[in-house]
């Protein structure tokens, strides 16, 4: 994964940079970024928080104590990302700083857990990644197609663009899934005794 390709120093720089980029739009002086565009909020800040959490230096053993089973870890990632796909969550994150702080913490945790969870059972990983892709696809499709403005804080054009972006992410996840399945089948073929 990304971690193995980078040196410790570069990793630290990247993780701090990612954290700053992800958290800054929630700070008062930069809130206009998430307030003015749903696309920026959902397609940039939320994935960036997960990535920043992923890049954070953490101790996988400690995470194992708190979220010790891979099912729990996957559930955290799945439920936290589903939670922040709801229109009411996005609106409340803009209106109430406490909900925005909860967004930062829960998504950074999801990113941190993501690092550990890829070492879990492959079938479990495929199941959750597949479920996530379906969830993103349906949410994206709904955001894109509905004539109702679901988020009070954003324009309908921003909502439709976000919907399209979510569908693209869902498709990328599906490609990743098929790639992993293919890779798994190839490995199984290679390791099969003659």
């Amino acid at each position: 994964m990304i971690n193995t390709l980078l040196t410790t120093k570069t990793k630290a720089i990247y993780s701090v940079a990612a954290l700053i980029i992800a958290v800054t739009p929630s700070l008062p002086f930069a809130r206009v970024l998430i307030e003015s565009s749903m696309t920026f909020h959902m397609l940039f800040q939320i994935p960036m928080l997960i990535l920043a959490g992923y890049l954070l230096k953490n101790n996988p053993k400690k995470l194992h104590y708190t979220l010790s089973q891979s099912t729990a870890q996957w559930l955290w990632i799945y439920l936290s990302s589903t939670f922040w796909m709801m229109p009411i969550s996005i609106d409340k994150a803009l209106l109430y700083p406490t909900w925005d702080a909860f967004k930062l913490i829960s998504l950074l945790t999801a990113g941190a857990v993501l690092k550990v969870v890829f070492k879990s059972h492959r079938l479990l990983a495929l199941f959750f990644v597949g479920s996530m892709a379906m969830m993103l696809f349906f949410v994206g499709f709904y955001y894109q197609q509905t004539d109702t403005r679901l988020c009070n804080a954003y324009l309908i054009e921003s909502q439709q663009l976000t919907g399209t972006g979510l569908i693209v992410i869902a498709c990328l996840l599906l490609f990743f899934l098929f790639f992993k399945i293919q890779q798994g089948l190839a490995d199984a073929e290679y390791s099969r005794p003659d």
């Binding site: 104590y65 708190t66 979220l67 010790s68 089973q69 099912t71 729990a72 559930l75 955290w76 439920l79 936290s80 939670f83 709801m86 229109p87 009411i88 969550s89 609106d91 409340k92 209106l95 909900w99 909860f102 403005r149 679901l150 988020c151 009070n152 804080a153 954003y154 324009l155 309908i156």
Partner: protein, 222 residues
């Protein structure tokens, strides 16, 4: 922590994660009843029934008042909507709905009990002249349909906080806003809030209120 304790914790953790998110999903969606802020706003207004005396207005004749006072003085049930007169989208359809409702009110001779109010939130551009032009354009009968604008930005902010009104200025210097019909009692309190295609429900609520009030009066006279 010994290994046994850790093993027990690890068995609990998926359940704990589900329980944690169950609580937060519940808190966020107001106990699983709303997935959008707009639907929560409607639920809140139905239950809280706030007093609208904070909604200070100026009408197209330049008279200062507030929505609660307007309801009390006229002793009418009011159906209100938030608009801005230069709007080329949703407000036009809201205006058409009010035109048809005005015709119904006049035809059923309800103009003494039921009134319509269009409230403009465009505090910086709206004035007497623009409201009067809107009145002419919409053929609004002053006995049935009042046209007012919010007095200042403080009133607009109060409407945003207390009524969940959302107004966003878009790139073309127009506004994007949430739209609904708010039914106000003759005491100046919110009785209900309805979607733009639910004007008949708003009228039904108003008529029910008037019918119950009439019954009460008849009982007192008897």
């Amino acid at each position: 922590m010994n290994k046994l304790k850790i093993a027990r914790l690890s068995k609990l953790s998926p359940v704990m994660v589900i329980a944690f998110w169950f609580v937060f999903f519940g808190l966020m969606t107001h106990y699983f009843s709303n997935i959008t802020l707009e639907s929560q706003r409607r639920d809140d207004l139905f239950t809280q029934q706030p007093d609208l005396s904070f909604l200070s207005t100026i009408d197209d004749a330049g008279e200062f008042s507030n929505i609660a006072q307007l309801a009390i003085i006229t002793n009418k049930v009011l159906i209100t909507q938030f608009i801005y007169t230069q709007c080329k989208t949703i407000c036009l359809s809201l205006g058409n709905t009010f035109q048809q409702t005005q015709t119904q009110i006049v035809r059923k001779n309800l103009s003494k009990q039921l009134g319509l109010v269009s409230i403009s939130f465009d505090v910086s551009h709206e004035n007497k002249e623009t409201l009067q032009a809107y009145r002419q354009r919409m053929h609004a009968d002053a006995k049935v349909w009042s046209l007012v604008k919010m007095q200042d930005t403080n009133v607009l902010e109060a409407a945003k906080n207390k009524l969940g009104l959302m107004v966003i200025e878009d790139n073309q210097k127009d506004f994007v806003h949430n739209s609904a019909f708010i039914v106000v009692s003759p005491t100046g309190h919110v009785m209900g809030i309805f979607e733009t295609d639910e004007i008949s429900d708003a009228i039904t609520l108003a008529l029910k209120y008037l019918a119950s009030e009439h019954k009460e009066k008849t009982l007192i006279v008897k």
